[in-house]
Amino acid sequence: MSSKATSKTRRVKFPYSLFRNICEFFGFLLLNALAFKYVYPFIETQAIPIPIPVQASLKSTYSLMGGSLDYIQVMLSIPVLPLIPVASFFIVGSILGRFFCGWLCPMGFIQDLILKIRGGNPKINPRHHEALKKIKFIVLFATLFISSTLALSQFTEQGLKYKRALGPFTTGILFHIQPETTLAFTIPQIVAQYGYGSDLLDFTTVWSPGYLTLLGLAILALFFIGGYSVPWFWCRYMCPTGALMGIFAKVSFLGLSRDPSKCTKCGECVSICPMQIRILDMPWEKINDQECTLCLECVGACPTGALSPKLS
């Protein structure tokens, strides 16, 4: 009798996790679509001038579309008011929050892949987690501060001196050293140089001096080692684009809701959340956390179906 009752009440769960992974994979292919030019030379696609609010490098050899933050940094260095890239943050952020981080971002896809290879979902000390979360806001502030002061200085006599002092960081402090730039631009450059008979240890490329390449490689190592130790390390603690989207995620239309009549407070949602969000401590009507990437892992894991996405 009890088994009959169980089979009657058993829900057919939508495979949110698998569906998101497929979306992420296609997002990764779409954003790096120019790579197909090297496989099929007859393809003559060019990069599209549409800024998207994800961590996609404008400098990447394979990028079909550049990240909005990269556009903001470059436009401020000209200086031009970056209206369209800023608008992309406002429009996408106000509706979807950090949805793109979990469903489209190529760096998010790699972080997810590392987590899948590693297995499990280790938690870190909540106090450390709360402190480390602030790093990405510091990175964002430093990036925008340098770019905006550079833009303002160019209307004075000090502009040229400031530009010279910044050297290769004129186009933004992250522009040359972010993980995707190293992965999809600097490393292929070094390999190509080696192919032309240069010394592999010579990290000075046509595009960047040696110390910048080494700094980029160190940050890439942090990206991989951090991603292996802590789930979605880069998205949680380092990504400035994620920090900016997180500000909008606090008020975005899209969020999650928890039905208190169905919720048994079993804690499955909290234990599976890769961003370590304390879902049960959030208001049940609407969960809008600045860390939530709307990956829907919690929705898929909830045994009673109490959690669901909510657009309001």
């Binding site: 060019q46 990069a47 001038p49 549409i50 800024p51 404008l58 400098k59 990447s60 050899t61 990028s63 550049g66 556009y71 470059v74 436009m75 000209i78 031009v80 970056p82 209206l83 369209i84 800023v86 608008a87 992309s88 943050f89 406002f90 429009i91 952020g93 106000s94 509706i95 186009t171 631009f185 595009w207 909008f248 606090k250 008020v251 975005s252 239309f253 609407k286 809008n288 309001s312």
Partner: protein
């Protein structure tokens, strides 16, 4: 309050997009791609 802020951000975004397109910023974006994408 939350919904009002989201609406405000969305409206501001649309406004910035319209002004940006009116100011031919797409040409700037194309130029940036030409200069920075290898």
């Amino acid at each position: 309050m939350r919904r009002m802020l989201a609406s405000l951000a969305f409206t501001l975004g649309l406004l910035m997009l319209t002004v940006g397109l009116y100011a031919d910023q797409l040409d700037h974006l194309k130029l940036i791609i030409k200069l920075h994408v290898p």
